[in-house]
Symmetry: C2
Subunit: 240 residues, 2 copies
């Protein structure tokens, strides 16, 4: 890659995971149906997944604002579940069912091109998630989908949640790299804008159906260094 | 495995790395010669490696005792190098040489049976290093030797150094496991004694030549749950 391209000098790729690499919506809907349908519940499973995800940012904001100590995402997912579940008529669910539902987030499927594209990128770059998901969740997704991470970085290692600068910077520091030697790859412009403010390079993947058909970012709304319709296109553009 | 064996219920294996999985002595000696011989230095390279390693525990003790904030092992290795190098007549080495020497610890070779045995163990257990080495060092060793870690855990994630209990417990917690669901595997009885005090299961690997011929632990000096002459024997005993 020529020295004057914006991606020259990049040695590591850091990845957002939920939505960027895995289809949380269809996977959570499937898991919820698998767990709750046998108990007699009949819901709009995709709406259930959407409602859970809608609690995601408010839940993390409690940590980011310092109102509660850092808690891993599994703990927030569980709390968020108990918050919105009554709206779906789910009351008095046993603890075991709530726990099993919370683990739905450990069983998300990757978008189809992701495992092969990550393996390809790993030949040229260090690769690590820089997700708000906790370490055990990332490990389970990696095992399920064959994601060949060099290390699991992100919120739990940093002790705070994106888009706080500490999370991006801690990932760079763990790899002994300067921010400009790292590229954050995500399907969400707000994540990339925050990474860019920390000095990282940025790559945007279009996931136009992340929140349902046509309800996802088709293109970035902020300046980025590279864009792709999928991770394979990012790999091609990075000459991996 | 029957429920009454001491290793029943173990879901994850946590590994010491220096000496247990990699031959730091021969590797550091080789790297030091590669870097320093072209500059005209003629040393006893194995003695140089031994002298560096001898500074290892005192260096970490500064952190464990709270006299200095947590610093990653690369930083301690560099400081220790500058401390003992004059004894070998190495004075006034340029910063670039000191830096390159420090990175010798990122280029250690695994004992021969380790990569295949780890791959075998990964089919049955979660596997992660629980080393005092920093994340980037562990990543480089993994890439060099093909160590298929699920995650990089240990001192840098915990923010302290073994044998402080926090390091073992942070590794278990990162995997959402109780201590008794994790086994610490090491070639050093003091490491295993500390892990056992935290409630972890323990496995000892004999590395009788770690510090030179006949200068390593041939057998544990404390009670452990499983022993092996190599990691392949541990894998066989764990029915992996």
């Amino acid at each position: 890659m020529s020295a004057d391209t914006p991606t020259a000098g990049v040695l590591a790729l850091l990845f957002d995971v939920f939505g960027t690499l895995v289809d949380w919506r269809a996977s959570v809907a499937r898991e919820a149906e698998r767990i709750l349908a046998p108990l007699g519940h009949r819901l709009d499973w995709a709406a259930f997944a959407d409602a859970w995800r809608a609690e995601y940012q408010p839940g993390m904001e409690e940590v980011r604002a310092g109102r509660i100590p850092f808690s891993k995402l599994d703990v927030l997912h569980r709390r968020n579940l108990e918050r919105f579940a009554p709206r779906f008529g789910l009351v008095g669910l046993p603890d075991t069912v709530l726990h099993e539902l919370t683990l739905a987030w450990h069983r998300l499927d990757a978008w189809p091109e992701v495992p092969a594209a990550l393996a390809r990128l790993k030949r040229k770059f260090l690769i690590a998630p820089c997700s708000n998901g906790n370490i055990s969740l990332m490990v389970d997704l990696a095992r399920r989908n064959g994601l060949p991470w060099d290390a699991i970085l992100g919120a739990e290692v940093a002790g705070d949640y994106k888009p706080k600068p500490r999370v991006y910077l801690a990932a760079c520091e763990a790899l002994d790299l300067r921010p400009e030697q790292c590229m954050m790859v995500a399907a969400h412009s707000h994540d990339l804008a925050s990474a860019a403010q920390c000095g990282l390079r940025t790559g945007h993947i279009a996931r136009p159906n992340e929140y349902g058909p046509g309800k996802g970012e088709r293109a970035p709304t902020v300046p980025v260094d590279v864009i792709g319709q999928g991770l394979d296109e990012i790999a091609a553009k990075l000459q991996a």
